[in-house]
């Protein structure tokens, strides 16, 4: 008897077009970011993902202020950030993490300054925290185009990227250009950062491009499998997060990332080979063997 209203309540979000759209756009973005996260995790580039996400803020602010597509603004400032990092590294002896931190916080501060001087043109919260529930049609188109192109390129080039990142001399011997592939990867990463900005916002993009890959890394040793698992986790948590945010009236980005973190923690404890429980079991077995 109670089941009817309960099901109605659970299905209610799908009755709203903006909710249905938010759910599948989030899933798409989550899947693409998860794909990239597998490479970031293994290369130790987590800070780069965070840096790019913060660096695109001034470009987005200017784009909304002057009325050109936000993706172009974001992309331009992402490239400025990458060049700035390379430039400062060449000029100084500073550690890489300090240089990255310096460049991205500077760009982020410039973005906040632009917004604060023209407070009416952009809502700072929607850049920093994302606002997929109120995304405009134009922005949806941009997100879909970015995600689809990135996914297609990754689908074609994922093995080349793997080879170029983890066995450079072999990659060269089979005629690949590691430098070019690296540039391609960072272009894709900034593009996906720009897409993720819409769903989870600049601060939480780091979770989208790190957590699913890390979770998958705990579950499998095979790279192809890792990509599949990461994409599944990324898409499922993003869709579920967007769905649940209907009942919470917002905080879509927060919910998506909380879900991703919970899945990671579950893998950390229960993963069959690399989880804490498995490690404890094998330690006990080893102790028995010794005895």
């Amino acid at each position: 008897m109670l089941l009817g209203p309960a099901i109605d309540l659970l299905l209610e979000p799908f009755a709203y077009q903006y909710m249905a759209r938010a759910i599948w756009v989030s899933a798409l973005v989550g899947a693409v970011c998860a794909f990239l996260s597998c490479y970031l995790i293994l290369k130790g580039w987590a800070l780069m993902g965070d840096a790019l996400a913060h660096s695109v803020v001034p470009g987005v602010a200017l784009a909304y202020l002057l009325g050109f597509p936000y993706a172009i603004g974001a992309f331009t400032s992402g490239i400025i950030a990458a060049l700035g990092i390379a430039f400062v590294r060449r000029l100084t002896m500073l550690r890489e993490d300090a240089v990255i931190g310096l460049v991205f916080t500077t760009l982020f501060a410039i973005g906040l300054l632009i917004v604060s001087i023209n407070p009416t043109s952009v809502n700072v919260q929607s850049i920093v925290l994302g606002n997929i529930l109120a995304i405009s049609d134009d922005d949806v188109t941009q997100v879909i185009v970015i995600a689809a192109i990135s996914l297609a390129i990754l689908g074609l080039k994922w093995k080349d990227l793997l080879l170029a990142f983890f066995d450079e001399s072999h990659a060269r011997s089979v005629g690949l250009n590691p430098w070019l592939l690296r540039v391609l990867f960072f272009v894709l990463l900034s593009a996906c950062t720009v897409a993720a900005l819409q769903t989870v916002g600049a601060v939480l993009v780091i979770a989208m491009v790190v957590t699913p890959g890390a979770t998958a890394h705990l579950l499998t040793d095979r790279f192809g499998m890792m990509i599949g698992l990461a994409m599944l986790i990324g898409a499922a948590t993003s869709a579920l997060g967007a769905y649940l945010s209907f009942f919470l009236d917002g905080a879509t980005g927060g919910l998506i990332v909380v879900l991703q973190t919970l899945v990671f923690l579950a893998a950390f404890v229960f993963a069959p080979k690399y989880g804490r429980l498995a490690a404890r079991r094998s330690a006990r077995r080893a102790a028995e063997v010794i005895r």
């Binding site: 931190g101 906040l112 927060g254 973190t261």
Partner: protein
Amino acid sequence: MTWSAPAWLWSWFIDPLAHSFMQRGLVVAVLVGAVCALLSCYLVLKGWALMGDAVSHAVLPGIVIAHVIQIPLAIGAFAAGLGCAIATGYIKSNSRIKEDAVMGIVFSGLFALGLVLFVKVETDQHLNHILFGNMLGVQWPDVLEAALIAVPAIVIVIAKRRDLLLYCFDPTHARAIGLPVGTLHFGLLTLLALTIVASLKAVGIILVIAMLIAPGAIGYLLTKRFDAMLAIAAAAAIGSSVVGTILSFHIDGATGPTIVVVQSALFVLAVMIKRGGRSANA
């Protein structure tokens, strides 16, 4: 003619201070700038830029929970920040995930939890003020609270600077000569968390990371001696805080970001001085 330039400069600096909110903002900016600058020297040397980023974001759920259970926000923030650092260490040493990724996972998870709790809980706090600070809205009790946290942190950092430096540069050597390495590690984390808590009201949890990198980087560029590095970092940060606060009044922009942009400009200047000096010597 020679005195007219200082005269307008003088009034450019002094006129905004006729407002009491500007006085409070300036005091808190200088305080926060000084303590962040000292810490930044260690973070830059140790390669802990991401750690500063992580701890600062992780304090958000602590603030919200402290608000719910009615304890001082600073205590909740401090506990959450330290908890993030400890959880990162635990997961890193018990899994095959690299440290930078673990840090990213933990702090983004905590920040996200904070956002969800914030939406769920009715608070009188403004999310924007927690995230970006509200330098010109601070009241004297806020200034006092920041001072109560920042001044002891400054004293400890200066008193223990030799031990902390050795720990940052060469933990193995520090252990060999009998320094309590574990205590120093947690001491530095605690100081970092305290600094971030002290900076909360003024610059917020997102921008504090900028103030925790730039001054140390400037000091690192301009000198090879650590004491001089601390002094240069502090001077650069305090100068930027003063100029940034006043400048933000004139351009009608947000104060925290203005200070950060001034610091970055000083960094660019330091790079140019360094390069200029080198080519002159060569």
